[in-house]
Symmetry: C2
Amino acid sequence: MEYLSAVELFVRRLTSRSKLERPSISALLDLDGRLVPVQRGEDLILPGHPVSYSTLVVRGVLGRFDQMLDGKRQITALHIPGDMADLHSLPIPTPSWGIQSLVPSTTLQIPHERLRRVLDSHPDVAIAFWRDTVVDASILAKWTAYIGRADATTRIAHLFCELGVRMAFQGMAAKDDFPLAFTQAQIADAVGLTTVHVNRTMAVLRAACGLSIEKGRVMVRDWNVMASYANFDDSYLLMSR
Amino acid sequence: MEYLSAVELFVRRLTSRSKLERPSISALLDLDGRLVPVQRGEDLILPGHPVSYSTLVVRGVLGRFDQMLDGKRQITALHIPGDMADLHSLPIPTPSWGIQSLVPSTTLQIPHERLRRVLDSHPDVAIAFWRDTVVDASILAKWTAYIGRADATTRIAHLFCELGVRMAFQGMAAKDDFPLAFTQAQIADAVGLTTVHVNRTMAVLRAACGLSIEKGRVMVRDWNVMASYANFDDSYLLMSR
DNA sequence: CGGCGACTTGAGATCTTTCAAGCTGCGTGG
DNA sequence: CCACGCAGCTTGAAAGATCTCAAGTCGCCG
């Protein structure tokens, strides 16, 4: 029943930001699809290829990415369990980005047709989905700002602040100790740096605030120190109505 | 009647991507608000301050931005006439970003209340608005990718490719010759570089593809050369259904 | 035990920033 | 009509951040 709880997580987050009618909520909770296990590093969706389902993260972490001609990747969003990784594909079925699995994951592919049926009879769900897309854009804007204007230490600290807070918000773990088996190459793709430089910067943060990734867990000794490196302010995550 | 045509532009763009019922279209065309002239450099909306209207660009260019503690700005989106700069504020009335006017502009402040009334009676409009937000996010993702993974020349070339194509799509001008009185400092804020480096890079592009800004007009002699510097592919702008 | 992926380290190259100064065009006040 | 001042553009030189290339280490799995 693992995937049922992912749908529940998704609905719980929607209702934390949007008032939904009771029938809308049950229609959402009835959503179902194909449960798909995916390996680490697998590309689930490729840019320019139309899709007919949306991808709910049940387990693991997915990354939205864009790719340069020389193959360099930039991750533009991370999705943890309870996130619909490409709600976008419902209004725009041919994405301009790709989605890859960053760790061993499980997804639930929910057919667009089913989602559209819910939207057609429950207009408040459309607003809730729209609102979720706006939160996603708010996070993306923050990433853009940090990649454009912050140095390596600040960017990486900010990434882990954000991930911790989001994990905690989903009730998965504590913000200073959560499961996440990222490689340094994946961190590099997320913050727009090279692996070598990420490696050096992680060493700095390890010394400064006790940030470490061990056995697939992120741990932070002095979370507040990391947050001050990041100038972290969680309001862009819009965690309350 | 200048501002009426901005509403028309907005509606025309919505209908180019979304099928809308005839009554929905007339409800949208009936939208009205307060026409506000703004000076270059003025901040229209500040991060964290709630707003009760959405801002339609009638004339000029607005920039969405985020700001670091030291005051450095990163522009995360540009809005040209016919764009609703903060449709986002309708589902999320307290923005985490600001909006500034980059050139002398005119905006139409449309009360959220009026927009909500349209949404309530025309569910297809909600989907169209949502779709517009997704296009906005698609552009933002492309910016993130270029800021994270492309060098200065490529980033700036890409910016002007995008702006040209968007201007042409709105029917404002040709993609290789359009009105836009940006300063190099504003370009720097958009691509995440310093003014000095933008200056040097503009000189390179001027020599390579005849890109220039004179008397508030952007002109490009060899658009295809610029596009190849940018590796430009317009599909992320989703200009057709 | 071998091999592979991920992490670490060093050194030099390259890109971008910083600081500083001078230039240019334009609007304003005298 | 001219002088001034300011904003924006340009240029030089040095500092700094990040990247590239290259090699070596570590731990885990077959």
